[in-house]
Amino acid sequence: MRVVGKPLPKVDAAAKVTGRALYADDIALPRTLHCKILRSPHPHARILSIDTAAAKRIPGVLAVITGLDLPIKFGILPVTQDERALEHEKVRYVGDPIAAVAATEEEIAAAACDAIEVEYEVLEPVMSIEAALQTPKDERIQDYGGPNNVHKLVALEFGDVEGGFSRADHVREDVFFFQGNTHLPMEQHSAIATYVDGKVTLWSSTQVVHYVHRALSKVLELPMHRIRVIGAAHGGGFGGKTDPFAHEIIVSKLAMITGRPVKCTLTREEVFYAHRGRHPVLMWVRTGVTRDGRITAMHFRSALDGGAYGSYGVASTFYTGALQTVTYDIPAYRFEGCRVFTNKPPCGPKRGHGTPQPRFALELHLEKIAHDIGLDPVELKRRNFVQPNTRTVNWLRVTSCGLEECTDRVINASRFHDRERRPGHGMGFAISSYLSGAGTAIYWNDMPHSEVQIKVDRGGVTAYCGAMEIGQGSDSVLATIVAEELGLQPSDIRLVTADTDTTPIDLGSYSSRVTFMAGNAALEAARKMRALLVEAVEASGRRIDDVTFEEASMLAEARFGTLTTAGSYTPPKIAGPYKGSGVGPSPAYSYSACVVDVDADARTGLIRVNKVWIAHDVGRAINPLLVEGQVEGSVYMGLGEALMEEQAFRKGLHKWPSMLEYKSPTFLDMPEIETFIVETIDPEGPYGAKEAGQGPLLPVPPAVCAAVHDALGVWIDEIPVTPEKVVEAVRRKEKGEPARYGPQRFPPIPYPPTIKVEPPPKDAAITAI
C-alpha cells in the first residue's frame, strides 16, 4: 500500500499549528448577540416563579427566554427524553439551566441574568448512591424509573452460574469503587446560531452533528430540512460533547426570536457542571476458578451514580457488564446493574464509556485471585484469554484478537518477570478491550451508520462525510483511504465533513466508530470511483497506470458525465437474542495490554510513575503516527484518572470546578510511554483496521493499582489512588488490619428477577445471526 500505514501528518495539521482553524467561539458573524444562561444555585428545588421583567428592561437586552419558550423535552436516548433546554418547574443539580438572555454584549447578558428573579422551594438533595436507594425525604428527582431514585435496573444471566461456582476450587468476592471524573476538554463548549429565511444554522463544538440536528428539530418544532448543524473545528471532546446540549438549543431559539446571530460559549465552571463524564461506580464481583486458574463462573454487580438526568445512562449501565467476557472466556456469567439519579450534573460517556470502571474492578479482582491461589497474575489471565473467532457467553462476536501478542510485547519489553526488587518499587499488568463502534444506533433504525460521497472533476477529488474531526484524525483517515484507492496523497483530497446540509449521514465521533464505519463507507465509495476511472481509461485503449489522475478523471467525466460515487456502512446484525443485547456488540474489538512501573512512597503516599509500556491491537494502523497519538493520549488520560482526577461534590457544589484545582497531569507528571502497535488485520475493518482512541485507556488504572500493590503490599480498591488512600492503607497494614483501602460493602439493591439467557451453541456461527 502506498499511503495506508505511513506516518503522514494529519491533513488538518497546518490549520492547527498556524491558529487558522476556526473553532466555534472563533466564528464572528456581523450583528452577533451574546448569550448567557442563568443556572440553578440549588441542587434540588421546585421553581415557584421566574420574573424576567427587570432583565428585559436593561438596555442592550434583546431577548430573555425561560422554559415556557422551550417546553419540549429531549435527551440523547429515545427512552430517556428527560431534559429541557431551560427548566421552569424544577431544578435537579447546581447548574441546571433556567433562563437565557441575548444581549449586544456579553457583560450586559450577564447583568441581565443577575436581574432575573427566581423563587425556589428548596428540596432535600440526594447526593450518593446509598441515599438514592432509600425512600426520598422529599419528592423523587425524576418522575420515572424507580423504586425511590433508582433510574435503571438490569439482571441477566448467561449459562449455569450456580453450577459454575459449585465446580470452582476457589471463590473470591471483592468490592471496588471508581470515582467519577470529567473530560476537561481544553475548549469550552461553544455554539453560534443564525436564523435566515426560516432556517436555523448552528455551528457547534459537538462530536455528533446528527444528534444535535435531531434534538433541535424536536425542541424547536422545525423539520430537519430547515435546520443545518455544522461541526466547527473541535477543541477536544473525549465523550463530553456527545449529548445535545441546552446551550445549542437556546442559541438557536434566541436567533429565531431576534433574527440575529447568537453565540454562547460556556465558562470553564459551566463546563464542569455540563459534565456528562465518567460515572462513579460501585462494584461487587464474585468469581470462581479451578485450581489451575480457569474461570468457572462470574457474578458482577454495578451501581452507577448517574446524576440528575438520563443522558447515555441506560447504555452506560449495560456497558458496566458487557465487555468482561470479551477478554476472558467466562463460561457462566451473571450481571446485575443499577443506575440511580442524584442531584449532581448528569454523567454520560467518557472515553471508554462505562467500561473503564468494571475493567479496573475485573483486572484487580483477577490479580487478587492469582495471589490467593499462588499463580502469576499474567499467567492466570493468559489461561483465560478469549480466542479469536468465537462468541462469548453473552453472545458477543469476537473476530480478530491480539491479546496474546499484546501481552508478550509489554511483558517482554518491561522485563516484567525480572523486574527490579527494591523497596517501594513495583510493576503492574492489565489488559482490556474496546468496541470499534457500537453495533447498534442510539435510536432504532435500519439505515446505514455512515455514508460517504466522492466527487471527481478535472482531477480534483472531494469526499463528503458527516464524520466529525475532533482531533483524533477522523479527516485524515477518510483522506488516506480515498487517496489509497485513487492513487493520490491524503493532502490531495478535499474534505467536506460534519455538515448536515452538505454531507451524508455519519453517526459521529463516539464509541470509536469513525475509522471502522466511515472508513468502510469511504473505501466502498473510493473503489467505485476507481472502477469508473479504470473503465473509462481502458475504453480509451490505455491502462490506468499509464495515465495521470487528471487524464483519467477527464476521460471518465467525458464518458459518464458528473463523476460521483457513494458508499455506506451498516454494521452486521450480530446482537444476541435477548433484551439489552444491543449494548456490547461491535463489528470488531480492539485489544490492549499494559505494564506500569511505579515508585511508591509509603510515608507520603506519593506515587511516581516511571514508565508505561502499552501494546494495542488496532487491526491495522492506517496511520501509525495517529494511532500512537491516540494510544499515548489514552495512557495519559488513564493515568490522570488513576492518580488524581475527581469530579466530587460538597453540598451540591463541585468541589473544584477549575483547571487549577481539578488536578490533571502536566508535562512534569507524564512518564515515558513505550507504544507497540499490534496488527491483526481484522476481516471486516477497512484494510483490517480497528479502533485506537479509547481502548488503551482501560488497562492503565488497574495496572497502576497492581503496581502499587507490588510496591507496598497494599490494595487500593478505589480510583483515584491518592496519597491519602495509600498512607491509610499502609497504616492499616502496619497495624495488622487488612492492607487495603476501598469500599467495605455493596448496598442491597432491588434488582428485578434475573432474565436467564441460553448461551450461544458452542459451534455458533461468527457471521450474522
Binding site: K10, T18, D25, M186, G471, M659, S664
Partner: protein, 159 residues
C-alpha cells in the same frame, strides 16, 4: 451604550502597530480575539490556569487572559499568527505537524509560542528542561509525548 471607560492604545502585535479604542478593563486575550480578529489565541479558563492563551511579550511567554493592554504599550506582542514567516512555517510548526504533536489543536498555539521562547533562550534544552518550560500549558489529547519529540526535532533543525 454603557458608561465604560475606553482608552486609545497603540499595540505592537506581530510587528504591526495598531491603534485601538478599547474598554480599559478588557484583557489582552479579549482585545486580540474581539478587537483585532486574532482568533488563533485560544482560551481554556480565563483564570490563568491552563496556559492555552499564552502569547509572547518581548519574547517571553505570558498569559494573555491575565494581561491588560494598557500595560503593554511599547512592548512586542507575538501571537500564533506572527509565528510563521509569511507562508513559511516556523520549524516548530513544521515539527508539530510532522510528528502529530497537535491533535485537536486547541492548546497548540500557546504551546508553540512557549516552546519558541524556550528555544530562543536555550537552543539545546534537555527533555526535562522542555517539560519545565511547558509545564504551565495543559494538553488533554496528546499525553505530551509527541509535543516533547517535536520540540526536540525543531531544536535540532534550528541549530
Amino acid at each position: 451604550m454603557r458608561d465604560v471607560e475606553r482608552v486609545v492604545l497603540i499595540l505592537d502585535v506581530n510587528g504591526e502597530a495598531r491603534q485601538l479604542l478599547v474598554p480599559s478593563h478588557k484583557t489582552l486575550l479579549e482585545v486580540l480575539r474581539e478587537d483585532m480578529q486574532l482568533t488563533g489565541t485560544k482560551h481554556g479558563c480565563e483564570l490563568g490556569e491552563c496556559g492555552t492563551c499564552t502569547v509572547l511579550i518581548d519574547g517571553k511567554p505570558q498569559l494573555s487572559c491575565l494581561l491588560l493592554p494598557i500595560q503593554l504599550e511599547g512592548r512586542a506582542i507575538t501571537t500564533i499568527e506572527g509565528m510563521a514567516n509569511g507562508s513559511d512555517l516556523h520549524p516548530l510548526q513544521v515539527a508539530f505537524a510532522e510528528l502529530g504533536a497537535a491533535q485537536c489543536g486547541y492548546c497548540t498555539p500557546g504551546i508553540l509560542l512557549a516552546a519558541r521562547s524556550l528555544l530562543e533562550e536555550n537552543p539545546r534544552p534537555t527533555r526535562d528542561e522542555i517539560r519545565e518550560a511547558l509545564a504551565g500549558n495543559l494538553c488533554r489529547c496528546t499525553g505530551y509525548t509527541k509535543i516533547l519529540q517535536a520540540v526536540e526535532l525543531a531544536a535540532e533543525r534550528l541549530r
